[in-house]
């Protein structure tokens, strides 16, 4: 066979595909439609302008990756709240057990999936970053 033939055949396929409709999602120009039950970045729900979380420690207890850190405190009304609520996204396996375990429905998983960051410290999501925006 002429050594040029395979190159021409290859180029023909390439050229054909240049004019075909793309099969894959054109991220980031196109955004995926995230399913409602998609398990992305966590969010702490807010009610009466404060976090619903009562710092019961069930999420760190159930977490198989041990990525959740909670510290409880007592507020002025003697109620329990989370002084610290941190999730280490580098360790999180997005299993959603924490949401399932939550007895007060204070935690959800959002559709947010773009979690890339430049430093390791930025992967540790503090309570402020996790609180849902109103």
């Amino acid at each position: 066979m002429n050594p040029i033939t395979p190159i021409i055949n290859g180029m023909a396929i390439t050229l054909k595909h240049m004019f075909m409709k793309p099969v894959t999602l054109q991220y980031p120009d196109e955004r995926p439609k995230v399913a409602e039950r998609f398990r992305g970045l966590h969010g702490l729900k807010v009610s009466h302008s404060k976090a619903k979380c009562v710092a019961c420690y069930l999420c760190p207890t159930v977490c198989p990756a041990k990525c959740i850190t909670v510290e409880a405190g007592e507020d002025a009304n003697h109620d329990k709240y989370a002084t610290v609520y941190e999730i280490d996204m580098l360790r999180c396996i997005f299993c959603g057990y924490c949401v399932e375990a939550c007895p007060v429905d204070a935690l959800k998983m959002t559709g947010e999936f773009e979690l890339a960051n430049y430093s390791r410290q930025d992967f540790i999501y503090s309570k402020e970053r996790l609180l849902e925006k109103q």
Partner: protein
């Protein structure tokens, strides 16, 4: 024993057992909320319902029904399970379902049973309670909305603590647990109620929201405060001791603790702990390395008899014995002592000559087995609260008679039928001699006494102590003394209890011998429920005596060491854990000694007043970070292991002494266990013990007594002066030594020193509660807050000695009774 059948299993149980106890002994678990091993059966919760065939299958409570011969019992038929489910439904009807925020969650009996019986819905509806939550005190939070009315708190407060702060109040559906007139809680804060609460109605505030129960690891240890030797379980998370956990199976005291044992653990993780060795450079203590610090210390220890040492009896046996070996063999000095040099005299001198042993001839377990208790000073409750609980139980449950000889009334005086003879301060020894004299005169002497060495001399020496003569100088009447003598002598079993400590200078060798004379003359020693029990102050005071960490063969004692520091014969002073500046008498002298000594080394947890004067300060470990053994006041040797990892920069005293021995050219043992092997081989009573065998329950070191009478000397009574009050020093209930100042719990309830005086003196001096008074003695003057109480007799004032901010030793120079003036 009775034979019965439980769930088709043939079992036997003691005659006194209830069905519940019989089942438990035989490994059959009956669910219950209102039962505790230490408390009397109550039958409040109805969870323990069982069926007894002989009772026609009726459902009866297992916890209040005695097990009888031939009973056929079923503990879990479908009917019983149905009934239990209903009980739980009814309890959950009013119980707030706030498990996520309740600190009891995970350790909650109600939660566990709800889970076990799968009660996940409720057929009934009702409103939840809306009781106000008591946040008024810093230690115990009371949320009566969660209460299931099992009554355990009220019962333990009454039956064991004997305070009676809590009870059922109101009626019917409004019934709740409360204080008198529904006031805020104001008790002695031992926290026993918290420990037995099956739900989260009573919670420890220092632990509030700190951690969940399941997240903590539980480490058993031995309390590091007083000499009772209570076992504690420490709840540890992230290498921090967060709380103490109740275990009703633990120790002779069945998990019962006092305020400092339960709430005084915070010193372990205190932010004030020293973290690096400090060396004085250009007059300032600055951080250094271990190598530098120990090299300096080792260099100074080469001074032979110029070196002296003071140790705290809070060190382990291994550390004390290694310290002693180092001083004797590697340093070459005999000058070492502990506990201010006199707090151990009752054992090392008194009992040594009266019983031929430096330990008590009775144990704490004898208290409940006795018929008659003679307590010297009501302070026995304050110094050793858990021993106090034993006395409470003996008197209230076993009908043991209690007589107290004291210079003030106290909590023990309030026990049923307790007789308190309140004498003039300082006259207790004369009184005891007069009791012995009365026993001789009334021919109540035991047959064995005449054969004991020194009987004739005793008889002669007691001639001056007739009840009439002593009654006059002690402020009692002769009939009372005689009555006490005859009650003591005529009881089949009688036990004498007296506290010792750095604040109890009057409780010395002479007092111990006077008490021993009483026991020997009536033959009340060496038998169950008899003897003389010396309550030594710190957690290892008895161990320090057993290890021989006190001057022998011509060594200097604490007082002489301080004198020698002043006159320059002692040039290097090694203080291991003591804080003489606060806890030794005569602050001026101690300060002069510490100033004068050329080189002062202090190994401490904190930068105490004494450590602040040192040339080298070595940071050491608390009892929760080290391994070793403690010997309790009744010679129970108990093993402790680390509950938390020590920080890299601190060492145990054992490591420090080992390192110093190496630097001095010796060969130290590698591990505390090896040191203990040497202790076991050389200490009377410790033979055969080792760390492995002691791990579970510890072991008693037996005491062999060889009785001898010690003839009393004539005593000069304390002369009172008009316009002056008699100051007696002692321990406050909430504190032990100076260490408890670093525990948050004790400092919440008793944050500062005070002077306690009677109502009549208060009105005579026009002093109101909490007034700042100037107290002056011959040696100095200081300001203390006034506390007016009913227990003090007129003319007597009391001050505790624990506080660095108000050091009582600036007016107290070590006399049992100090005459002071009081000005508002």
């Amino acid at each position: 024993m009775v034979n019965l059948t439980i769930d088709d299993k043939q079992v036997t149980a003691p005659k006194t057992a209830t069905i519940y106890e019989a089942a438990k002994i035989n490994g059959i678990n009956i669910p219950i909320l209102c039962h505790d091993k230490k408390l009397k059966p109550f039958g409040a919760c109805r969870m323990c319902l069982v069926e007894v065939e002989q009772m026609k299958g009726r459902q009866i409570p297992a916890c209040t029904t005695p097990a009888t011969e031939g009973m056929i019992i079923r503990t879990s038929t479908p009917d019983i399970i149905k009934a239990r489910k209903m009980v739980l439904e009814l309890l959950l009807l009013n119980h707030p379902l706030d498990c996520p925020v309740c600190d009891k969650s995970g350790d909650c009996d109600l939660q566990n049973l709800t889970y076990e019986y799968k009660v996940n819905s409720n057929r009934f509806t009702d409103e939840k309670f809306n009781h106000e939550i008591d946040y008024n005190n810093p230690l115990i939070e009371r949320d009566m909305n969660r209460c299931v009315l099992c009554g355990k708190c009220a019962r333990i407060c009454d039956e064991i603590v004997s305070f009676g702060a809590l009870t059922f109040i109101d009626r019917g559906i409004d019934t709740k647990i409360g204080c008198e007139f529904d006031d805020p809680l104001n008790c002695e804060f031992c926290g026993s109620c918290i420990s037995v609460c099956p739900v989260g109605a009573l919670l420890a505030r220092p632990f509030k929201h700190k951690a969940r129960f399941w997240a903590m690891t539980k480490h058993t240890s031995v309390c590091g405060y007083c000499g009772t030797g209570c076992n504690v379980t420490l709840g540890v998370k992230d290498n921090k001791v967060l709380t103490t956990i109740y275990d009703e199976e633990q120790g002779f005291h069945k998990g019962q603790l006092c305020v400092r044992g339960r709430f005084g653990y915070q010193f372990i993780n205190s932010a004030q702990r020293l973290s690096k060795p400090l060396v004085r450079k250009n007059g300032v203590l600055s951080e250094s390395t271990w190598d530098e610090a120990l090299e300096i210390v080792a260099g100074r220890l080469k001074g032979g008899s110029n070196v002296a040492a003071l140790a705290t009896p809070r060190l382990t046996n291994e550390e004390l014995s290694l310290f002693k070996t180092m001083l004797l063999e590697n340093v070459g000095t005999k000058n070492f002592d502990h506990a201010a040099g006199y707090a151990h005299a009752a054992l090392t001198e008194g009992f040594a000559r009266s019983f031929g042993a430096t330990a008590s001839s009775a144990s704490i377990l004898d208290i409940q087995k006795s018929d008659f208790l003679l307590v010297i000073k009501t302070d026995a409750y304050e110094t050793h609260p858990v021993v106090g609980f034993e006395i409470n139980m003996a008197v209230k449950n076993k009908g043991v008679k209690l007589s107290i000889l004291s210079d003030k009334r106290g909590k023990l005086s309030k026990l049923p039928d307790a007789k308190t003879l309140v004498h003039r301060p300082g006259s207790e020894i004369a009184l005891l001699n007069s009791i012995a004299k009365t026993i001789l005169d009334e021919k109540m002497v035991d047959a064995s006494a005449a054969a004991v060495a020194g009987y004739a001399e005793l008889e002669k020496a007691l001639s001056g102590f007739s009840a009439e003569a002593i009654a006059e100088q002690s402020g009692l009447n002769a009939a009372d003394i005689k009555k006490l003598a005859s009650e003591y002598a005529s009881s089949e079993k009688a036990l004498i209890i007296f506290p010792t400590g750095q604040a109890y200078t009057g409780h010395n060798a002479v007092l111990a011998s006077a008490l021993a004379n009483l026991a020997i003359i009536t033959g009340k020693y060496g038998k169950e429920g008899c003897g003389v029990l010396c309550l030594s102050e710190k957690n290892n005071s008895q161990g320090a005596v057993d290890m021989g960490f006190y001057p022998q063969d011509g060594g200097l004692n604490s007082v002489q060491i301080l004198d020698a520091c002043i006159n320059g014969t002692v040039k290097t002073l090694f203080v291991a854990g003591e804080n003489p500046l606060v806890s030794y008498p005569d602050r001026n002298k101690v300060k002069a000694a510490l100033d004068a000594v050329e080189f002062l080394v202090v190994s401490e947890l904190f930068l105490t007043e004494t450590a602040a004067m040192a040339d080298v300060v070595l940071p050491v470990c608390s009892y929760a970070e080290k391994e070793g053994t403690f010997t309790s006041t009744d010679r129970r040797v108990q093993f402790i292991k680390p509950a938390i990892r020590k920080s890299v920069q601190i060492k145990t005293d054992f490591e420090i002494f080992s390192d110093l021995i190496t630097r001095l050219g010796g060969q130290p043992p590698l591990r505390p266990a090896l040191q203990f092997e040497e202790i076991a081989a050389n200490t009377p009573g410790y033979l055969g013990m080792n760390h492995v065998s002691l791990q579970k329950n510890g072991a008693f070191a037996p005491v062999i007594t060889i009785p001898a009478f010690v003839a009393p000397q004539a005593l000069t009574p304390v002369v009172s002066e008009t316009g002056k009050l008699a100051l007696v020093t002692g321990s406050a209930l909430y504190h032990s030594g100076t260490l408890s100042q670093y525990g948050e719990g004790p400092m919440h309830v008793c944050p500062e020193g005070y002077i306690e005086l009677s109502r009549s003196d208060a009105s005579a001096y026009k002093i109101a509660e909490n007034d700042l008074c100037t107290v002056s003695s011959a040696t100095g003057s200081m300001q203390l807050k006034a506390k007016i109480s009913l227990r003090m007799p007129a003319g007597v004032v009391f001050a505790p000695y624990h506080f660095s901010a108000t050091p009582i030793n600036s007016i107290w120079s070590g006399a049992p009774v100090t005459l002071v003036t009081l000005v508002k």
